[in-house]
């Protein structure tokens, strides 16, 4: 039997790992505007993409233009990426809504820094969690993922592209400054060791094609612009042909479908790591770099004879409700440490409905949440 091929190992920043993941996933377009602490993603893409077979890199005049260009590229058939941080993320919100409405797959990496406003450009935070969920106006579904270490930056970037393509939706990957700027050894998976999903394209002749038709998965096939399927794309509420509509039954059909295409696949979209949660009385629910501190704290608590566990969220939205329900079957205490004033703990409390005691640890001073801080709260029970 052939021995499995050894994986290439590199010593990389979280931001570099994002680039590696994007290229493995088939990303061939980057449009962006530099902003700390995400800029390395753009810089490395600027160096790498022109040397790949079909890669396109362009620096735009601002983050509004970045999102516009990335959506345009997506509609022209590319797997497209942009990366930014807080202030730029705010500027991207309008066109993010367009991407949701027009169902343009793309990946948006937001490396969170302290806010609001210019805030703390070089310090970590997790203050954009609810903005990622609700930042663009109107009712909309969204997929928000996160990563807690450099290897996960690579893995979750591939996942983000796959979900974007599978569900024809923008996917936000929320990192924080610590994860992005940590340098550690990671493994690059070999071809065949990871899944790559590409959007489905229509197989019917152009005259039969309806761009926003109902399908079983709720995801209509999407041809690239110029492939012979001439249709209309708009941010206006539209009918199956893509033409603007104000008819209540057509509005409802569209809104139902864009929600349903995400909602009926929670089992595929909601990703978590359950670490020692099976018998845990105390469960820490964490994400991003904080999850790393939490993992050590849980390990130390176990060494002290406390039944502690960690539910690490890799998908933030749609919020992994079922996984939280599962730990609630036995947990008496939930602890939610975050580098914000309590944005994810709102979701936890919503699901908890008074069953367990929910304790929060919140840091907004640009410093990481340490394992000792989390351990202290675990020990208090």
């Amino acid at each position: 039997m052939a021995r499995p091929k050894k994986r290439r190992e590199i010593f990389a920043l979280g931001n570099e790992a994002v680039v590696e993941g994007a290229l493995l996933a088939g990303c061939s377009f980057y449009g962006g505007y530099p902003i700390t602490p995400s800029s390395e993603i753009m810089e490395i893409m600027a160096a790498r993409l022109p040397k790949t077979e079909d890669g396109v890199f362009i620096q735009l005049e601002d983050e509004i233009a970045s999102m516009g260009a990335v959506i345009g590229a997506s509609m022209a058939g590319r797997k497209a990426l942009t990366a930014t941080s807080g202030p730029g993320f705010s500027l991207m919100q309008e066109n993010l809504g367009y991407a949701i409405m027009a169902e343009a797959p793309l990946v948006l990496v937001n490396v969170m820094r302290g806010g609001p406003s210019t805030g703390l450009p070089t310090s970590p935070a997790q203050g954009d969690v609810q903005q990622a969920r609700w930042g663009t106006h109107g009712d909309h579904p969204i997929i928000v993922l996160s990563a807690s270490n450099v290897q996960e930056c690579l893995d979750m970037t591939i996942t983000a592209f796959n979900m974007a393509e599978k569900y024809r939706t923008p996917v936000i990957l929320l990192l924080d400054e610590v994860t992005s700027h940590t340098r550690e050894k990671i493994e690059i998976p070999n071809e065949g060791e990871y899944e790559v999903f590409s959007r489905s394209v229509p197989s019917m002749p152009p005259e039969w094609y309806k761009p926003y038709e109902e399908t079983v998965r709720g995801v209509p096939p999407m041809p690239p612009l110029g492939a012979g399927y001439r249709f209309h794309v708009t941010g206006l509420t539209h009918d199956r042909n893509g033409f603007p509509t104000q008819r209540p039954e057509e509005i409802v059909e569209l809104m139902d479908r864009i929600h349903r295409k995400i909602d009926q696949f929670f089992y595929d979209i909601q990703l978590v790591d359950e670490i020692e949660t099976e018998d845990a009385d105390t469960v820490v629910i964490a994400y991003g770099s904080v999850a790393r501190s939490a993992e050590l704290a849980v390990q130390q608590a176990r060494e002290n004879g406390i039944k502690a566990g960690l539910l690490k969220l890799k998908t933030l939205f749609p919020f992994p409700r079922r996984h939280t329900e599962k730990v609630l079957a036995h947990a008496k205490t939930l602890i939610v440490p975050e580098m914000n004033m309590g944005q994810m703990s709102r979701e936890v409390k919503r699901v908890n409905m008074g069953r367990a005691s929910v304790r929060t640890i919140n840091r907004i001073d640009g410093q990481i949440v340490t394992p000792a801080e989390i351990l202290k709260v675990i020990m208090q029970g």
Binding site: F29, M67, A69, A73, G77, R78, L225, G226, H232
Partner: protein, 284 residues
């Protein structure tokens, strides 16, 4: 001309059969003339419909895209050129034409316009200038003439209006021209040239909005507005010969800028081809 097209042919070949009409435009509006001109230009250049992408902004001009049988993308307010840039870079073989209004291109999208021109991206920008925000109800735009009455400048426009042509020239566009919907043949000629030329081209089409601008500014009917265009417009060559004091209230039309800089996408893909050649030779 061998490539001329009749009205019937425009309807049957270039308008969408499955789009529910009537359209959104008011009686007397010039936007339909611009759209007809655009179709005739594309037809004259014999560009296949599949290769044309119309990227539109928000406003009355933005609504034009929905009626024509090309690849059409109706984007967000002011951002048409950003989408167009992404589409052109993703697939340089496509003919990308951005339709924008004056508020769209010069106000909310002003930054994108100057950078598209500076970059010289291979997109044709059509600015349909009717001096007003028409769809939203007659508010001031950056192209509203000084002194005009609008919903947001009810006591008269205080600021000076933008000169679209000078803006595009200064920012580095390859081709800049202005026409009016009264001078249709001329508009068709410059539009055809603009689409054919590589790099960033801009055509400003002066078009009347009687509903939101004309009737509040002493133009009794849409016809009065067309009469104004006829009277004010003057070929740029003749305009340049006029003494300074005679230039007031005249509107120079024609071609203002013709440059031959490579488009951004051309420069990018040439650089890429160089890398791939080196790669094939075994270099890094």
């Amino acid at each position: 001309m061998s490539n001329s097209i009749t009205g019937n042919e425009i309807i049957h070949k270039y308008l969408r059969h499955n789009k529910k009409f009537p359209h959104v435009l008011c009686a007397g509006c010039g936007h339909g003339i611009v759209l007809g001109t655009l179709i005739r230009s594309i037809h004259a250049l014999e560009i296949p419909k599949d290769d044309v992408v119309i990227v539109a902004g928000i406003g009355c001009s933005g609504r034009l895209a929905v009626y024509v049988d090309f690849n059409t993308v109706h984007t967000t307010h002011g951002r048409a050129l950003t989408f167009a840039t992404g589409i052109k870079m993703a697939n340089p073989k496509l003919n990308v034409i951005a339709l924008m209004g004056d508020g769209d291109a010069l106000s909310i999208g002003g930054n994108h316009l100057i950078h598209a021109a500076r970059r010289n991206i291979g997109v044709t920008a059509m600015v349909l200038n009717n001096s007003i925000y028409g769809m939203t109800g007659g508010q001031s735009s950056p192209a509203t003439p000084e002194g005009a009455t609008t919903m947001t400048m009810p006591y008269g426009q205080l600021d000076k209006s933008f000169d679209t042509v000078e803006l595009a020239r200064g920012a580095g566009a390859n081709y800049v021209a202005r026409g009016t919907v009264f001078h249709v043949k001329k508009l068709e000629k410059i539009m055809t040239e603009a689409i054919a030329r590589p790099g960033f081209s801009l055509v400003e089409a002066i078009t009347p909005c009687h509903t939101q601008y004309g009737r509040k500014n002493k133009y009794k009917s849409p016809v009065e507005m067309y009469k104004w265009m006829k009277k004010a417009a003057i070929p740029v060559e003749r305009y340049n010969e006029l003494p300074e004091d005679k230039r007031k209230d005249r509107l120079p039309i024609g071609v203002f800028v013709e440059r031959d800089r490579d488009g951004f996408e051309e420069r990018y893909f040439n650089m890429k081809a160089e890398f791939l050649k080196q790669g094939a030779k075994g270099g890094k």
